[in-house]
Symmetry: C2
Subunit: 332 residues, 2 copies
DNA sequence: AGCGCGCATGGTAACGTCAACATGACGAGA
DNA sequence: TCTCGTCATGTTGACGTTACCATGCGCGCT
């Protein structure tokens, strides 16, 4: 690796001072167009790249944001990661990823981020409770995705309640007398929101509220819930995510229940695979790209010293496929 | 944010020079145990954290590695990302993620990484060809996952050929006269390896080699291939990944073919969901954790100035589930 | 003509760290 | 006793950048 090109090199080559080069790099208006052109020419010739570490040392800003994520095993988290990565890149921010691993200790993740000198971080975490209790290092700007509102940080969330309501109402409108629910794990904000909305929608429609079944987002846990659904004679089920719905579909098939003829199933997320489940899954689409984009936008705004906005909410869309169908009264 | 604690502060508090603090931080042996204890005490009291940017500026090492990934839409890539993140964290390296987006231009990704000053990078890229042509910036240490050997970088790969062979042999041993193949996209190293091994295994068993079908790793493309499989009367199919197998399973079901009774299906990857496909999928397990761990280990070794090792290969395991079964000759 | 002001540019120091060299104390061997 | 080597520690400067202040020039106004 030959010696790296510094501002001083560019300055000498262009016959100006280092300070002027700095001004060109930072788009300062106080530069004569002719000089600017000369400097830019020199930068191109020498292949100059600003040195982020030096800049960070001087300014205290690293132009790097962190992403704290509990696990990438769920497809939703992976999709969010990609959305966040792209949004950050388009703003010239680097993204560094920290996973929680088995430890639920989010404080540890914060420590790491501070040490790495990120300007701020986005938290994507199932464990709402953990985030609440955690000590947030002073000066660490935070945007939390899917969390209870908190005055220590700004949050962005999918409209889980609205999405769940649309799913349950869809099933009720098709003629089912009630809808069972396969919920996500306790302590997950998203899971709680979806479950509550499911319960409330049933209640306000005057429908019976069955015992809630609970999984951990994995397809395997969905299958376990599916066995129970089959045993309890459920005719319509709303699953808190698509992967659990996959497990439910398999369990129902093993129990000899046909979907949608005997049992209707709805998921949440609309992951790519959902259209290829058997049968293709009716589900509530989350717009991960918008969610990631908003999270980054709000974080960068905060980093630039802007006021903390209000919290934001992103709408969902119900995607109807073949796992739900109008109840055929004659056939029953 | 109050002023950050620097070495000078610790030095003053402990009554030593900054240099001695530096030595303590870097575990230099030239420090008296008593002094070391005093300095460590001071660091703890003041809550000192080394400033990565300053260190990077001085040493030229950022203790950060980059991950270049084409997309996170495939479950395999997400799993790799998690494995790499954990392996990097356990070595005290930060991980920054760069996605390629729509552009196939990996040189652009390299530029970004160099600018961010990473010490090295791991490349996870479908587009083998793109990586070959790309200009690699001088001094950027590289470990490429799943690529043709190249003397400009070290590589780690799953034993795609071995895995594919075990899948095809499994089917042949069950009694099928031949095995169809749903391949991954052209230009993907992994896809090519699996396809070639499939072809060779059939050939050396004296079996007919059917026309290859091709997808793009997505479940939707698998479904398209599944339609063709049904039309051509295939009785056994080996899919280049699990997600395409999911699509194949649905297409076969729609065409009225029962799996495994009429058609046997095998996948590749063993993603978490595969056990909940209908029927549960026989598949070739890739050990993503080992793959990620090895990639990081080799990269860190290279960064520390070690010699480039030979390329490495990680073994696979065939996981037999219900999508394959011994051919029932009587029933045919 | 003299004065002040806006504008382009330059000089200098500092961000926190670490490598290289310098210093000083102490003990062993001649 | 003198010298030399070893070890713990201190001093200095530099990595590349930018904030702050200084400089000098030209122009318009009194």
């Amino acid at each position: 690796m030959q010696k790296r090109v510094s501002m001083a090199d560019v300055a000498q080559h262009a016959g100006v001072s280092g300070q002027t080069v700095s001004r060109v790099v930072n788009n300062s208006p106080r530069v004569d167009p002719a000089t600017r052109a000369r400097v830019e020419q020199a930068m191109a010739t020498l292949g100059y790249r600003p040195h982020r570490a030096a800049r960070a040392l001087r300014t205290g800003r690293t132009h790097t944001i962190g992403l704290v994520v509990s696990t990438l095993a769920t497809v939703g988290n992976s999709r969010m990661l990609q959305a966040v990565a792209d949004a950050a890149a388009s703003r010239g921010f680097a993204l560094t990823v920290v996973t929680l691993g088995y430890s639920d200790d989010i404080s540890l993740a914060f420590e790491r981020l501070v040490e790495q000198g990120v300007d701020g971080a986005i938290v994507l975490n199932e464990a709402t409770a953990a985030a609440r209790g955690a000590r947030i290092p002073l000066g660490l700007r935070l945007v939390v995705v899917d969390s209870l509102p908190d005055d220590r940080f700004v949050s962005v969330q999918t409209d889980h309640a609205g999405g769940a309501r649309s799913a349950v109402e869809h099933l009720l409108q098709l003629g089912y007398e009630t809808v069972w629910h396969v919920a996500g794990p306790r302590g997950s904000f998203a899971a709680e929101q979806r479950e509550n909305a499911w319960r409330e929608t049933l209640a306000s429609a005057g429908a019976r509220v069955p015992q809630v079944l609970r999984g951990d987002w994995s397809a395997a846990s969905g299958a376990a819930a599916g066995v129970q659904l089959a045993e309890s004679g459920a005719t319509a089920a709303f699953c808190a995510n698509d992967q659990m719905a996959l497990g439910v579909l398999r369990a129902l098939a093993e129990a000899g229940r046909r979907v949608p003829d005997e049992v209707a199933v709805v998921g949440f997320d609309d992951v790519d695979d959902a259209a290829q489940y058997r049968p293709p899954l009716t589900t509530v689409r989350q717009d991960f790209d918008v969610l990631g984009e908003r999270a980054v936008a709000m974080l960068v705004h905060a980093i630039d010293g802007g006021e903390s906005d209000h919290d934001e909410r992103v709408a969902t869309t119900l995607v109807v496929r073949q796992s739900t169908r109008v109840v055929d009264y004659d056939a029953r």
